[in-house]
């Protein structure tokens, strides 16, 4: 069975893969490339657990086709830390216990990173609306919002 040949960049590395036309970027990341950090919570773009950043834009990877990755630059949760050094958002999520089960966490971290790139000094309301596309069922969001606020403060100082 033939596939579509795709050349792309993932977390700074050149990556090539073959995929079928109907495969989503999420399918490709998880099943072909072994990058299982992005999760499938719904497959319909409603939960945000599969969030990745494509060419600087936050997307649900379940709504993007694998073939659309051609020539793009993709950031996933696996590329967020710098080796052993965690990103300030990752550190603050741990410190504030902004995760319980943790399955939504990669998506929240990508969405929060996207927010702080666009808006380094968000208000609580801006944080809440920026993260409204990501569902968390464990935390009630309180500690997530505080973690993002704290990370923003740290990143501004850096």
């Amino acid at each position: 069975m033939s596939g579509i040949a795709v050349s792309t960049t993932i977390n700074g590395d050149d990556v090539e893969f073959l995929c079928q036309a109907e495969e989503t970027l999420l399918d490709v990341l998880r099943d072909r490339l072994g990058l299982t950090g992005a999760k499938e919570g719904c497959g319909t773009g409603d939960c945000g657990a599969c969030s990745v950043i494509v060419d600087g834009r936050l997307v649900c990877s379940c709504l993007v086709l694998g073939a659309e990755a051609e020539g793009r630059s993709i950031e996933t949760i696996e590329g967020m830390a710098d080796g052993e050094k965690l990103h300030p958002l990752q550190e603050k999520f741990l410190e504030h216990a902004a995760l319980q089960c943790g399955v939504c966490t990669p998506g929240f971290l990508m969405a929060a990173k996207d927010l702080l790139t666009r808006n380094p000094d968000p208000t609580e309301e801006e944080i809440r609306f920026a993260l409204a596309g990501n569902l968390c069922r464990c935390t009630g969001y309180d500690k997530i919002v505080r973690a993002v606020q704290d990370a923003a403060t740290v990143m501004k100082g850096a």
Binding site: Q20, E22, R30, L35, T36, G37, A38, K39, E40, G41, C42, G43, T44, D46, C47, A49, T76, I77, E78, M80, A81, L86, Q90, F93, L94, E95, H96, A97, L99, Q100, C101, G102, V103, C104, T105, P106, L109, E125, I127, R128, F129, L131, A132, G133, N134, L135, C136, R137, C138, T139, G140, Y141, D142, K143, I144, V145, R146
Partner: protein
Amino acid sequence: MGFDQSYSARKFKSVGTRPLRPDGVDKVTGRARYGADFNMPGQLVGRVLRSPHAHARIRGIDTSKAEALKGVKAVITAADLPDHTEGDSELYNILDNCMARSKAFYDGHAVAAVAAVDAATARKALKLIEVDYEVLPHVTDVDEAMKPGAPQLHESSNMANRSEYGHGDVDAGFNQAEVIVERTYKTEQTHQGYIEPHACVASVNGDGTGDLWVCTQGHFVYRQVCASLLGMDVSKLRVTSSEIGGGFGGKTHVWAEPVALALSRKAGRPVKLVMTRDEVFRASGPTSATSIDVKIGATREGKITAASATLRYTCGPYVGMWAELGAMTAFAPYDLENVKTVGFEVLVNRPKVAAYRAPSAPMAAFAVESAVDELARKIGMDPVEFRIANVASEGTKSSYGPVYGPIGIGPTLEAVRDHPHMKAPLGENQGRGMACGFWFNFGGQTCTDLNIGADGTVTIAVGTVDVGGSRASLSLVAAEELGIPYEQVKAVVADTSTLGYNDMTDGSRGTFSSSMATISAARNAITVMRERAAQMWDIPVGDVVWEEGHAKAKGEKHGNLPPLSVKEIAEKAGNTGGPIAGHSEIVADGAGVSFATHICDIEVDPQTGATRVVRYTVVQDAGKAVHPTYVEGQYQGGAAQGIGWALNEEYIYGKDGRLQNPGFLDYRIPVCSDLPMIDTQILEIPNPNHPYGIRGVGETSIVPPLAAIANAVSNAVGVRMTHIPMSPPRILASLEAEKGA
């Protein structure tokens, strides 16, 4: 040797601190492996065919075309899951729910399944399976299902079970009452809404052994149920619990796991089966829809003289214990002379009801706490003071039978009365509400191994799945008991082949019971280390004490012996008797009951019926908060789920009996912008039956919100809300009805 589980006051060093969790880095870097993140060589993709009908007899299933499709390796129906249940009706119902045998009982009921080389082939194969259905009349509403002449699911009545609790004489009590409130309340069906769909990889070998990797709240229970259904020896099936992406009770029941095992057995290859979100909604979870009558009478001075409730809970197609749990919990916060509750378990053409965080208690509390609030208002008393005047305390005979030990309901009410939130001014169109909640908390069978490494660091292998940070809590407890730093302890969840049986992580029992087993295991390890130290020193073991993580020789005669650390003892283990470990197998009795009181402010737009949560406060007794940040997290998470239930979430069925909103777009759980910060206050009334005073904390927080929010909305709009969820159309309808009245 008996384990002394009684509470003794102590000054904690580790317990009560807030260190980072051991599984944290994996979870923020995407490395943690959940149910769907595991793969095996040669694995196939499993898919389930589900009934599109709410109620239908299955006259026949033709799988030949699907079997003939290239790439299909197995197709199964109920015939491939022969009945090994030997008259165990509970087990039979699980089997029938996993794969319909003669009738499909709800939209989404599994009727067949395939295993194929890839997802596309599996999907194609499902379309080639021909099911000959005889569509039958259906019923989905709880009250309709109880009416004479309603479509019947089984040969006997839809009223599958009746339970009754209480004491005293309610008729006499109502005769003494000067003020009575009597109303009927309804709540709609909700789903636990965990973000991770059910997922597993099953591998059954020709020699009768098997492996199951699965997201579950209880891998030992899954092993037992799956092995029984498949006719396997329990010990030949190894179940490994993956990281779990939320459960809230919904992952205490098997769903597709036996199907995956049966597919693997037939195909002779591993099978990965992951539910879609649509399947999660249509065929797993949910909680009961209910209809509840409450009657409460009191004197004008504010003393409740009698209280009664009739609770009707849907259970789906199979009898559960849902109405009974509602009947037990309904009046638990109060000291009542005359109380009676009757629960009816009602069969309907909806998915089998599963536990959902303090199962059944939120609906009962919604009805009772709404009536209590209305009664206080009628008498002219403050709702908090009215509750305090009738509150249960140590020595009270509870409405469900047992006499309470030290409990926290009074203290939570007093904390709420004195909380600044109660005095904060309200804005226009805003109302304030408060309500109480109760949950039993469970204990159960628990087993922990504590192994001491050659360098003095410690591993604890526990059998309760970590759903929200319990590995951190249990490491804190082990560190506390051994007297060593938290950083020297690592907790792991062991699989079913490497540790003794453990009940599930349910009933708020994970940290309660595993901490008890951990303390017991640590004490056993300390006994061993004292013996080893005695040997190293060549003195009687009776002269060795364990203090601050060290063996110390007591008495003048040993004055010159420097204390031995865990490391120093462990280094010599090879010469003093071998590896050092402590084991513990217990039934963790004595789970202390749990109470909470919540306050909330809600703003209602009178034009649209839209609501906004303005402020929310949770006050709950934790016994002892092992990791206070995680305790707060449980309080906040339960409150948020309760808010969703109260204001938005519901299963909507069409006239055809099909679920109309099986997705997160139309079944809308609260998002970040829907909620304010959720304030928490932890009270610590020690549980006398736990060495550290710990009580379970996970579930009670979902019990008060439905009523607290209903009371707030009712106060905001001046109309009593009696139907959950209070979605905008329902609020508007209530306002219109009031205008028309």
